[in-house]
Each structure stands twice: as structure tokens, then as C-alpha cells.
């Protein structure tokens, strides 16, 4: 029914105004001189030049470092969990997946906030240490706390995305591999792991993207002085009011994220070029 195709028109208008225009505004602000007044633009690259200050570059690298470590930790912890879940009975799988997704429905700020009372100097963990006669450890406002908060928040995404692929994996392939003489470890390395890469890749996307741009977790668990790129952007817009600079930083971040996503996908494709031919059909 071609008549229904016209239903898309209002949405195209809506999208242009509320999705495309805002993106263009960020670009516009990033490349123009200050002044929040409309219609007084002057092209400049200053906002980008300003970012190449060692202070800001350090923040950028810190953000990337934290996000990459978080992503790697999520793979290392999430993969075995997803693997174990996919090997349980169907009923247990449903239950475990429900249990793992349930915390995701609770407000992210609330969940992060809950860690404060556990990690703080007089907090639950240190009380336990004290009970066993151990010296208290400073955990709040450290890299450890920030990464813990990130892993806590984003691990479920990794588990679910790997699990989804593993659960769909044809058991006959594993049988076939055993049948051809591969022991369980060889089977895992040669069959299960390569075939579950799409799940890992989408997990990386789901973890890395929010991890590199979050400003709530570092603020709560890293303290006011802890600066990641998300905090930097927030400051420019909320505290300092330097919208042009803030837009430039956002643009740089968006480009880096897009670049790393393309890179990840490319690495995956190169690693298994035959699989990617049919990748779409398989998953």
C-alpha cells in the first residue's frame, strides 16, 4: 500500500528539526566564536586549538584509558558469565537473565549512589576490613571506585549481548567439532569463540560508548576533582558557560567514538573474513 508511505513525511520534518538541526548546531558552535546570541557567527578553529592544551589532552587520554579498561574488564568478567548461563537449562537461563537485567531497570544514579556507602572511608567494606583487623583502605575518589562503578553499570550490557549470540549458537556445531576430534578447549577456541565475536563486538559498543562519555559515575565515585571528558563537557555547558568550546569537545569525542567503532568492526571483519560474508544471515 503505497498510500501509507506518506506517513513518513511528518516524521522526516520532525527528525530534521529535532535530530539534524541540533547536530548542525553543535558543529556550528564548535566552529564559531563565542557569543550565545544567534546570527553573530564568526568562523574560527580556536575552540579546537584550545583543546590541544596538555591539561585537556590528559583528560581525553584519561577518559579513553578508563573506558578501555572498563570495556576489557567487562569482557573478561562478562564472557565466562554469559558462557555459563548459555549452558544451563532453558528455565535457568530465563531466570538468570531476568536477575541480571533487573538491576538495569533501577535508576543508574541510584545504583551508583549505593556504592558510596559501601566504598566510603567509614563504609561497609572498610567496616568489614576493620572487623577482621585489617587497615582501612581509601577507595572512594580513586580510579578503582570509578571503574568499579562503570563495570557495575555496564557489565549487564556485555553479558546480555554475548549471551544472546551464545544462546543462538547451534549445539550441532559443538557436537560436530567434538565428533571431528576437538576436545572441549579446542572446540571453544576454534568454534565457540570466533562465532560469538559479533556478541563481543556489540558488547564493546554498548560498554565503551557510555563509559567514555559518562559524567555521573566519575562525579559520584571520583569526586569533584575527578575529570573525564564527560565532566569537561558538562562543566563547559553548566558551570562555565563556554558553549563553543563545549561543542568542540563534544565533536572531538563523537569523532573518536565513531572512529573506534569503525575500527573495532574492521578488526572483527579482518579476523574472520569468511564469517562476515554471511554474518548478517547468521545473527
Amino acid at each position: 500500500m503505497k498510500g501509507y508511505a506518506s506517513l513518513v513525511k511528518p516524521y522526516i520534518l520532525w527528525m530534521s528539526l529535532f535530530i539534524v538541526v541540533p547536530m548542525l548546531l553543535i558543529v556550528l558552535y564548535a566552529f564559531t566564536e563565542h557569543g550565545n546570541a544567534l546570527m553573530a557567527f564568526r568562523f574560527t578553529l580556536d575552540n579546537f586549538m584550545r583543546f590541544f592544551d596538555p591539561v585537556f589532552i590528559k583528560v581525553l587520554f584519561k577518559s579513553l584509558e578508563v573506558a578501555i579498561i572498563t570495556t576489557v574488564l567487562c569482557i573478561i568478567i562478562g564472557y565466562p558469565i554469559a558462557y555459563i548461563i548459555s549452558n544451563t537449562s532453558e528455565r535457568t537461563q530465563t531466570l538468570l537473565i531476568l536477575l541480571i537485567t533487573l538491576p538495569m531497570w533501577i535508576n543508574m544514579l541510584v545504583r551508583t549512589y549505593a556504592w558510596i556507602s559501601i566504598l566510603s572511608d567509614g563504609g561497609i567494606l572498610n567496616s568489614i576490613f576493620e572487623f577482621f583487623g585489617l587497615a582501612p583502605i581509601k577507595m572512594m575518589y580513586t580510579d578503582f571506585a570509578v571503574m568499579l562503578g562503570m563495570v557495575y553499570n555496564f557489565l549487564p550490557f556485555m553479558i546480555i549481548s554475548i549471551y544472546t549470540v551464545l544462546a543462538k549458537l547451534d549445539r550441532a556445531l559443538i557436537h560436530a567439532s567434538h565428533d571431528l576430534g576437538a576436545n572441549p578447549i579446542q572446540t571453544f577456541l576454534r568454534i565457540v569463540l570466533p562465532l560469538s565475536m559479533p556478541g563481543v563486538i556489540s558488547g564493546i559498543t554498548l560498554v565503551f560508548l557510555p563509559a567514555v562519555s559518562t559524567f555521573v559515575i566519575p562525579k559520584f565515585l571520583g569526586g569533584g576533582q575527578y575529570m573525564l571528558i564527560g565532566n569537561l563537557i558538562e562543566n563547559q555547558f553548566i558551570t562555565v558557560g563556554e558553549w563553543n568550546f563545549g561543542s568542540a569537545i563534544s565533536l572531538i569525542m563523537a569523532v573518536i567514538i565513531m572512529g573506534s567503532m569503525i575500527l573495532t568492526r574492521k578488526i572483527d571483519r579482518d579476523a574472520s573474513d569468511t564469517a562476515s560474508v554471511e554474518g548478517g544471515k547468521l545473527w
Binding site: N183, T274, V277, E278
Partner: protein
């Protein structure tokens, strides 16, 4: 021929339902054995027990006189062609076929030679670099066979391997499979529910139903001498009737006594009787041993399928002659066409 595999009293149940009720079966070297039966009869379960993918609740499996029940599948000298092929989708044809050899750490040249030779055997030369997911069903099937055979197993298990192919391709593959089996000279254990497939390829057919073996025999045995009503009914079309064995060589059905060639039954034992449709001739009414009226005649390509009604039953008859519907005719058959079977559960 040497005995290679022996199943002893295999019992298997899934969630309280008994799938195999004590299977005893010997399979020999170089034999093409078909496990034949309707779906749910336990044939695939038996195959999977042999492959090592599931374990039986009771009983023993011997391979070359060694009990293998606790040997994991990857240590068994058995390879399988899976129902839906189970080709590794992230590998091309060559890598799929080479998989088992690489696991065994054979050197590169040997692997290359063996894979090439095997692809030639299954008519897939030049397909080495194709992704398996882009092959047709028949080609995937061949890759699966090559992937299993390249390991030079002593036994090849085939789990309804032709089920996913269309009729014409299925027929071609039947002939080809038999040819391959004769060429490599190893034992094939083939699972199917298709009686025609079984009759075409096998040396030995094992007819199974409801977790029990009904009959073991050559295709001709199974077809001509079915041991019971189930086998007669499952293999080919049949007229199956009930009768009484009066004494040796004398059977009574439809209130008439007929001469037959079977003996050794108890006198006056109730039996089942098979008459194959192609063994009955339609003759002029005065020459017939049984008289009836032609109800219908359907052209089936090679023959007509004729239904003749008598006061007792409807007979199915295959004939190449065209007959007139509603005509009164006689039916004729020879003593050797009557096949007497014990009733199920009485032998």
C-alpha cells in the same frame, strides 16, 4: 566380516518417556546399515549414543570389543554427518574439511593433499575457498560428508542426511553415497524414515518402532519376508489381513482355505497375512480365486493402482493393464505370494 560395533541391551529415557527399550544389535565391518523407522522410534537416539553425544541409562556399547560408553565423542574413531550438516559457518569449504586433520596436528602438505582428494571424491573440486554458507543444500551435504570422511573413520554415522534436499537431488545423492561407501570401504550407519532410501542403499536394514527393533535383514528379506504387521505396513504398500494357520502349508482367510509355502506355525494359530499389491493379478472372473468388483483405478506413472472390493475387504493391486471400473473380476495369486507372519507380541 568382522563384528565392529555391538549394542547390548541399550535403554534410554528422556523425562520419564522410554525412547529405547533394550536394543541389541551388532554391526559389521564394511557394512551399510540403515536404521529405519517412523519419527520418534529411537533411531536417532541410538545413533547419538554411538556418536557419544548422549549416554544411555542402561546397557553397553562395544567398539572393536572395547566398551566405549565413557569415551568422549572426540576420542571415538567415528565421524558423523549431521542432519542439518552443522558446517562451521565462519570457515570456508577447505577449512571445514581440514578441521579434523588440523586438530590431529597433521602437517600442512598432508592436509592439503587429503582435503583435495576428498573434495574430488564428493565432486567439489575447486570449491576450496567458497564460504560454506553460500553453498546449495546438496553442496553443503557433500562438504559435510567430506569433512567426516577425511578423518578416515572406521564408521561413518549419517543422521537423515538427505532430509533437507529435494526429491531429485535426494535420488542422486542416494546413488552417490552408496558409491562413496563402496569406494572408501568403511561401515556406514544411516538413519532415515524413508523406506525407499533404505531399500536402495543398505546391506542391512534395521527396522525400529517405539524404541524396539522390529526386524533386521537385507532389503529383500525385509520387503519379501516382513516379520510382522508393522514392518509389512511400513515397507511398501501391502494388503495386510488376518487369518488362521490351519496346519503347515494351509492358511484360511476370507472364509477360504489357501495353499501357501509357510510352515512351522502352531495349528489353528491366528496370524497376519501379507499380499503385496504387485503379486496379485486381475484375471477374468471365472479364473480368479477371489471375486470382486473394481472400485477405482488410478494411473501412477508406471502402473495403475486398482482397488477391488470383495465382500470382506478392499484389495490394492498394482497392474500395468488398464481395467474398467465397476467390472466384476477375479483375483489370482500363487502360494508363494502369500506371506504369513506371527501377530505382533506373540512371537
Amino acid at each position: 566380516m568382522r563384528k565392529l560395533i555391538e549394542f547390548q541391551n541399550i535403554v534410554k529415557s528422556f523425562n520419564d518417556s522410554l525412547v529405547l527399550k533394550g536394543i541389541n544389535l551388532s554391526i559389521h565391518e564394511n557394512e551399510f546399515v540403515t536404521l529405519l523407522g517412523p519419527s520418534g522410534c529411537g533411531k536417532t537416539t541410538l545413533l547419538r549414543i554411538l556418536g557419544g553425544f548422549i549416554s544411555q541409562n542402561e546397557g553397553h556399547v562395544y567398539f572393536d570389543d572395547i566398551e566405549i560408553s565413557n569415551v568422549p565423542p572426540y576420542k571415538r574413531e567415528i565421524n558423523t554427518v549431521f542432519q542439518r550438516y552443522a558446517l562451521f559457518p565462519h570457515m570456508n569449504v577447505f577449512d571445514n574439511v581440514a578441521f579434523g586433520l588440523r586438530i590431529k596436528k597433521q602437517d600442512k602438505n598432508t592436509i592439503e593433499q587429503k582435503v583435495k582428494k576428498m573434495l574430488k571424491l564428493v565432486n567439489l573440486e575447486g570449491y576450496e575457498d567458497r564460504p560454506v554458507t553460500l553453498l546449495s543444500g546438496g553442496q553443503q551435504q557433500r562438504v559435510a560428508i567430506a569433512r567426516a570422511l577425511v578423518n578416515e573413520p572406521m564408521v561413518l554415522l549419517l543422521d537423515e542426511p538427505l532430509g533437507a534436499l529435494d526429491l531429485k537431488l535426494r535420488k542422486e545423492m542416494q546413488i552417490e553415497l552408496k558409491k562413496i561407501q563402496q569406494e572408501v570401504g568403511i561401515t556406514f550407519i544411516y538413519v532415515t524414515h524413508d523406506q525407499e532410501e533404505a531399500l536402495t542403499m543398505s546391506d542391512t536394514i534395521v527396522v525400529m518402532n517405539a524404541g524396539e527393533i522390529q526386524q533386521i535383514g537385507t532389503p529383500t528379506d525385509i520387503y519379501n519376508e516382513p516379520e510382522n504387521r508393522f514392518v509389512a505396513d511400513f515397507i511398501g504398500e501391502s494388503n495386510i489381513l488376518e487369518g488362521v494357520m490351519l496346519e503347515d502349508y494351509k492358511v484360511k482367510f476370507d472364509d477360504q482355505v489357501f495353499e501357501c509355502i509357510d510352515y512351522g506355525f502352531e495349528d489353528n494359530l491366528e496370524v497376519d497375512i501379507v499380499l503385496r499389491p504387485e503379486d496379485i493379478d486381475i484375471v477374468p472372473i471365472e479364473m480368479g480365486r477371489i471375486k470382486g468388483v473394481i472400485k477405482s483405478s488410478l494411473f501412477k506413472g508406471v502402473h495403475f493402482e486398482v482397488v477391488v472390493e470383495t465382500p470382506y475387504r478392499e484389495w490394492i493391486i498394482h497392474t500395468t493393464d488398464k481395467v474398467e471400473v465397476d467390472k466384476e473380476v477375479g483375483l489370482h495369486f500363487f502360494p508363494e505370494d502369500i506371506h504369513i507372519m506371527y501377530k505382533m507380541g506373540t512371537y
